[in-house]
Subunit: 196 residues, 2 copies
DNA sequence: ACAATGATACAGATCGGTCTCTACCATCGG
DNA sequence: CCGATGGTAGAGACCGATCTGTATCATTGT
């Protein structure tokens, strides 16, 4: 029964798990269908019964990652309820830890956008939408924190956040983790008035 | 003679020009050798006589871009001789203009690093070296500007710079150009003391 | 005549995607 | 309790397209 349940659970999920790991670690274009098939122990037709195409699988991978990222965001924000300024700073502290992780390979969405340039690719649309959503959430927090110009602060923090993602793979685990947190603090304090 | 010189000049250079444009606009892995051949009006063997492989062509493309980027940096810095603080700010103002260009497609080195994950790829090494060189130059300017902690300011500005590159393609021409310049000013002033 | 280049065919590998066939398992009618 | 049925999955051959890279031969400018 256990094996049966495992089987029923799997197929699609096993494909998605394997694809997510490979896409993130080795790149989307570098990972072929055959490798995903082999590593997930799944028949090729099972993949094409659950996903229309490789592009569709990539789209599903990014959409699931967007949900996970959203969950991370909510988790961090929930640690400082009612204190938007601390919530903002907490995001960047947590981000600084993440990019120092030895297996960190950059932002999945930025990577996908770099690999998939075709504007008509739905996976690319998911990646870009995620960026805009991030910016919107930053803007909401900046406004809640009482920034003089919430839109400006959101823009600054958005650039900083993207930079943290981009700097990670280039500078390695001893990279700019501290710089991310400290820069965000400087920008947030400057935009909200120095009083805590 | 002119045509002959043109011919002699070309071959390698025409290949490199065409490859640079295509690699940057459409991505490295998305552009095949055949397209480069056709668009540059060159025989396939002329490419393989001038470059060992496609990877070698990519490496040459990135190395030339590194030289061009260095030249841009020097040009901007030369506009404010003897004023490192203004030089730093000028870099980010200029960067803000660049990422607003409609044909901006992100940082060629970041894109290359995202597309070429194999650590043994020499083109990837060129891309990562460029990042480190940028950070070193930022550190030198930060020290010259009298920052309290030059290494810290360099790290912050480095993240900001990478973020500017990464945000461009996602947010479009009406993106965060202003945020880049303003954020850099806040960080620089905070690190050097407010007095100009 | 000679060196460099263009044109083209080709080789070998790999890619995404389709097809066929078999095996399993859950359900349901008797 | 038992046997037929249908849906899901694994295994692997196969296809056409495309990719990098090589070999061959004609052309051209000096």
């Amino acid at each position: 029964m256990d094996a049966a349940l495992e089987r029923r659970r799997t197929a699609r999920d096993r494909i998605l798990d394997t694809a997510a790991e490979l896409f993130y670690r080795e790149g989307i274009r570098a990972v072929g269908i055959d490798v995903i098939i082999a590593r997930s122990g799944v028949a090729k037709m099972s993949l094409y019964r659950n996903f229309e195409s490789k592009d569709d699988l990539v789209r599903a991978y990014l959409e699931r990652n967007a949900v996970l990222h959203q969950a991370w965001w909510d988790r961090v924000v929930a640690r400082c309820p009612g204190d938007p300024k601390a919530q903002l700073k907490g995001l960047f502290v947590s981000l600084g830890h993440w990019i120092a992780h030895p297996q960190f390979q950059g932002c999945p969405f930025t990577n996908a956008a770099a690999e998939l340039r075709d504007p008509a690719n739905p996976a690319r649309a998911v990646a870009l939408a995620q960026k805009r959503a991030m910016r919107d959430r930053l803007r909401a927090l900046a406004a809640a924190a009482g920034a003089d110009d919430p839109d400006r602060l959101a823009g600054q923090l958005h650039v900083l956040m993207e930079g943290a993602y981009a700097t990670g793979p280039a500078m390695g685990p001893d990279g700019e983790s501290g710089a991310v947190a400290s820069a965000s603090a400087v920008l947030i304090d400057a935009a909200c008035g120095a009083e805590s």
